[in-house]
């Protein structure tokens, strides 16, 4: 009988990296990444499981956002930024191949940023922005998308009576949920979130976390967070990065209860970072 306090994995902690991810949506293999001459990511391999929440944690500058932006090629916009080795495959397709349509990719892999960035337009227009870009004109379809997405983002009840008020009139937490509604309006498969709660108060944060919990029933979610409690609460798997390297990737419970790497333990215990 194993000790009741320690999961049986403790003794064999070394042997559990990398975890087996069933039905991975995204596979990152042997990835090196450079900004000009400076290398930001070193030999990263990890898989993102379908309809799970995967959290990236680690001290600032360790490359979490860089890796997240690789997943929908947001780094293409940065001069001198490039993947120098390895590949990222989504459902088996290398997303950096020439014939991959970037706009198509970003439709499948949506992104929610750290600072909520609603457009200076109405709540309604914020939600349908992506659909309009796709050329959707049908009013009924747009109305439906607004309601579904705002409900999906747990914002509908708070704004249903003022859909034509400016998105900027909302509170910080509501703005962030509006951005999530905008992201899910185009029905992506994967949602990337880069520190989505870092500008929010604890109540608004709890609402977004609650929302993440609901969203994972339908979407695959990758979240970058510097809040370890948030990673612990929200995610199924956690990847810990340090100085551009993936130090440990395991089920969240293992990362926080019995990390196998001393650096992970130091970080999750708040002793560095």
């Amino acid at each position: 009988m194993p000790s009741p306090l320690l999961p049986s994995s403790l003794g064999s902690a070394e042997g559990r990296n990398p975890p087996v991810v069933r039905r991975p949506v995204i596979e990152i293999a042997d990835l090196d990444f450079h900004y000009g001459t400076s290398q930001a990511l070193h030999d990263i391999s990890l898989s993102i499981a379908e309809k799970e929440v995967t959290a990236f944690i680690g001290p600032s500058g360790c490359g979490k956002s860089t890796l997240l932006r690789c997943l929908n090629r947001m780094n293409d916009l940065i001069d001198g930024a490039r993947i120098s080795r390895g590949a990222i495959r989504i459902r088996g397709v290398d997303i950096h191949q020439r014939d991959v349509e970037v706009m198509e990719l970003r439709k499948r892999v949506g992104m929610v940023f750290q600072k909520s960035n609603p457009f200076p337009k109405s709540i309604y227009e914020n939600v349908v922005y992506g659909l309009r870009l796709q050329g959707v004109r049908d009013k009924t379809r747009l109305d439906e998308a607004v309601e579904t997405s705002l409900r999906g983002a747990a914002l509908w009840d708070e704004v249903k009576d003022r859909l034509h008020a400016s998105g900027l009139s909302l509170s910080g937490g509501q703005q962030q949920r509006l951005c999530i509604a905008r992201t899910i309006a185009i029905e992506p498969e994967v949602i990337l979130m880069d520190e989505p709660c870092s500008a929010l108060d604890p109540i608004a944060t709890a609402k977004v976390e609650e929302l993440i919990h609901q969203l994972k029933l339908r979407y695959t979610i990758v979240i970058v967070t510097h809040n370890m409690q948030q990673a612990a609460r929200c995610s199924d798997r956690t990847a810990f990065f340090y100085l551009g390297k993936l130090i440990e990737f395991a089920p969240t419970k293992d990362i926080f209860m019995t990390p196998s790497n001393p650096q992970t333990e130091a970080y999750v215990s708040g002793r560095f970072g």
Binding site: H213, A232, F256, M257
Partner: protein
């Protein structure tokens, strides 16, 4: 606001209640087996101890997981800590029930030394204490918890009285020694069960008040007499 992990806490709470019910049933069945000389029932009690042990492990695992992943504070943190302690006490109650049941099996080979009156009465009080202690966990009734702590002395008194009585049996008729010893140990087991009920009650008060009442005047419960050879200091 309801949180997605509130249900985990509910599950934790219900596991603890389930464990409480299992251990109460174990004690009750062990005593019934004694009074009715029912060996088969005693054997079932011994076999069912695994169930209580398993619940203790599950509760501990759940508590550690919850503390690690949910960072509970205030009442919630106390609930998880108290839950772990209470489950440990309940596991020990289960062990005592098993001890009693094993002695019932051995006693059944010989005629009863005397009619079983005091032991069931004592066990009745201990079980009531245990049930009240667990009830406090459901309804947060602090008065009930404090009453449990005070009743511990009653059980101690019966234990001491039985000890004297059984000692005299042994002195007068050495042939009764083995049976009298079994009964003394059963009495001791019941006394321990009452101690665990008291621990649980104290833990429940800590849960509702956030203040530790162990060893305080509020719950003075131990007689001062050192006459009882069968009484050991509580842990």
């Amino acid at each position: 606001m309801k949180r997605f992990f509130d249900s985990e806490l509910e599950l934790f709470r219900s596991k603890l209640i389930l464990m409480g019910e299992s251990s109460v049933r174990q004690v009750r069945d062990a005593m019934k087996a004694l009074v009715e000389g029912d060996v088969a029932l005693a054997q079932r009690v011994v076999a069912a101890d695994d169930e209580v042990d398993r619940l203790e492990i599950e509760i501990d695992e759940e508590a550690v997981r919850y503390m690690t992943l949910r960072s509970p504070v205030a009442t919630e943190l106390r609930l998880v800590i108290v839950g772990m302690k209470a489950s440990h006490d309940l596991e020990r109650v289960g062990d005592e029930a098993t001890n009693i049941a094993k002695r019932v099996v051995r006693l059944a080979a010989e005629p009863p030394l005397k009619p079983y009156v005091d032991l069931p009465r004592m066990a009745g009080i201990a079980l009531e204490m245990l049930r009240d202690a667990l009830d406090c966990f459901l309804d947060g009734d602090e008065e009930k918890a404090l009453a449990v702590c005070r009743r511990d002395a009653e059980v101690d008194a019966i234990n001491r009285q039985l000890y004297r009585e059984l000692s005299s049996f042994m002195v007068e008729k050495p042939v009764t020694i083995s049976r009298a010893l079994e009964l003394m140990f059963i009495s001791k087991s019941i006394e321990r069960i009452a101690d665990h009920a008291t621990n649980i009650a104290e833990e429940m008060v800590y849960l509702s008040r956030g203040k530790d009442i162990r060893h305080s005047d509020e719950v003075k419960r131990h007689g001062t007499s050192g006459e009882s050879g069968a009484s050991e200091p509580r842990r």
